[in-house]
Amino acid sequence: MDNELTSLGIIFTEFYYWVTVVFMFLIHVGFCMYEVGASRYKNHTHTLMKNTMLIPLVTVTFFFFGWWIYFAFVNGPWIIGPLVDAPWATPWSELMGTHMGGPPVQDTLTGDDTAFWARINGVFWAAFLLFSWTAASIVSGAVIERIRPSAFWILAVVIGSFTWIIDAAWGWSWNGWMVQELGYHDAYASGVIHAIAGGFALGILLVLGPRIGKFRADGTPRNINPHNPWLVTIGLFLIYTGFWGFYVACNIPVIDVYGSAMLDVAGKSFFSATNIYLQPTTLSAITFNFLMSLSGGLMVAYIVSDGDAFWTYSGGLAGVIGASSGNDLYHPIQAMLIGGVGAFIAFKMHYWVERRFKIDDAVGAVAVHGYAGFYGIVVAGFMLWGYPSSPFEGYAPITPWGNFIGALIMFFVLGFIPAWIVSKILHGMGMLRIPREIELVGLDINTETQRAVEADEVAQAVREAARSGSSA
């Protein structure tokens, strides 16, 4: 940090990620509003707490082991190589605390590495952490009103600090084995966040079962409408807002593409933003494509849902998610069309799966995130066929089959299967679903009863004061 230009680059990067974290916080505000709006009156407090408490639990576990997994598991481990040393990311590392970047903390780190991680570690960790919250929060909405909070929080840690960050190590890092061997390309996380979270939610739902009253005796579904659709739509609007931070956090803000031991072209420099694979892109490109894919999703969802507010907003999300894998490279009109198809698939698949398999996905999370995310990865494989997946030599190019295998890994291998196994274990221990009597009357039965008693007492006191003329 003794050179103005180097310092400026590092401190700008530090500030850049910090700003993305603030924006992404809004995703969680949105999810909380959305879930409370979608749940029925007598479940509000527990619904809110279920989502809120995933924040500290995923945060501390992401500090203890999630961050280390991201760097250590890029080879599988033992798919293409061993565990990788990541001394800056262990919970006992000096670089996981307030550090001025002085002498190297251990032999495997250079002075430059130490100076870099001293500044970047916390903000980069937090940017990934906010993705972790998002993954867990996507799942939270699908299981409202019948999952035990304790079970959900265990599952939130599984996806937030374990399975999603394994998928990021494998397919969302510059040296992940899926990028090297499959040419997997998923620049803005159609798969690494959305498909995995959708698959994870589906794995839980299959074991958890539907809410009481969701299906008629003949098996046809009833609509359980949000108790407050306006809260739901404001929540979704906030998720859109936070999505800007999410997109920007997927980039590295400024790097010399020729000078980062990648292309190794002597005497040349090209400073650019890159995606997580260190491929050049621009904020301008992703701004075009974010808005155009959002618009495509909104337009199609409005038509197919007959102007239903909940599905129109959700369709906007499905549009962005459907195009996100390739939104670093698509033309904006391609992004719009791909986003529109994503919204169509999410809407149709949600109702088809609900009717056919009696799956009660309370907020359409499996559809909007899982199916649209899966589709997004697959379509990027076709659209970007033949593009290099990395600036490094020897990596597989992007192909339809590479991305299709990647989509299966995200949705099923790291999403559906772990969730199904953990849910089965929790179910076997009687810890997955709330007792039937409580589900019937609502999770907040005791707090609501207590509030009613207290309100009656206050009202009684006010009446007595009015009668007696007392000010007490």
Binding site: V60, F64, E94, M100, G102, V105, P435, V441, I445, N446
Partner: protein
């Protein structure tokens, strides 16, 4: 008495970790992980007790059917009152 190694900022370019008790990171990691696991155990016990209380409360009020009937009656009264 000093909890950290910083007693001035003259040589900040040579500083590494500057939080108090540098060297205790391994111990802190063990304490942190223990706190996390204990929190889950405590919360599960608390939740079990809460659900037992909820079920007692429901039974005292005549069971879920009666509570739901009473709730429907109150809602009807509120609507008529409005």
């Amino acid at each position: 008495m000093a909890t950290g190694m910083v007693d001035n900022w003259l040589n900040v370019d040579t500083f590494g970790a500057i939080y108090p008790f540098v060297g205790s990171e391994g111990f802190l990691a063990i304490v942190g992980i223990a706190c996390w696991i204990i929190w889950h155990i405590w919360q599960i016990r608390k939740e079990n007790a809460e659900f037992r209380d909820d079920i007692d409360n429901i039974n005292k009020q005549g069971g879920p059917g009666k509570i739901l009937d009473e709730e429907a009656r109150r809602e009807m009264e509120d609507q008529i009152g409005q």
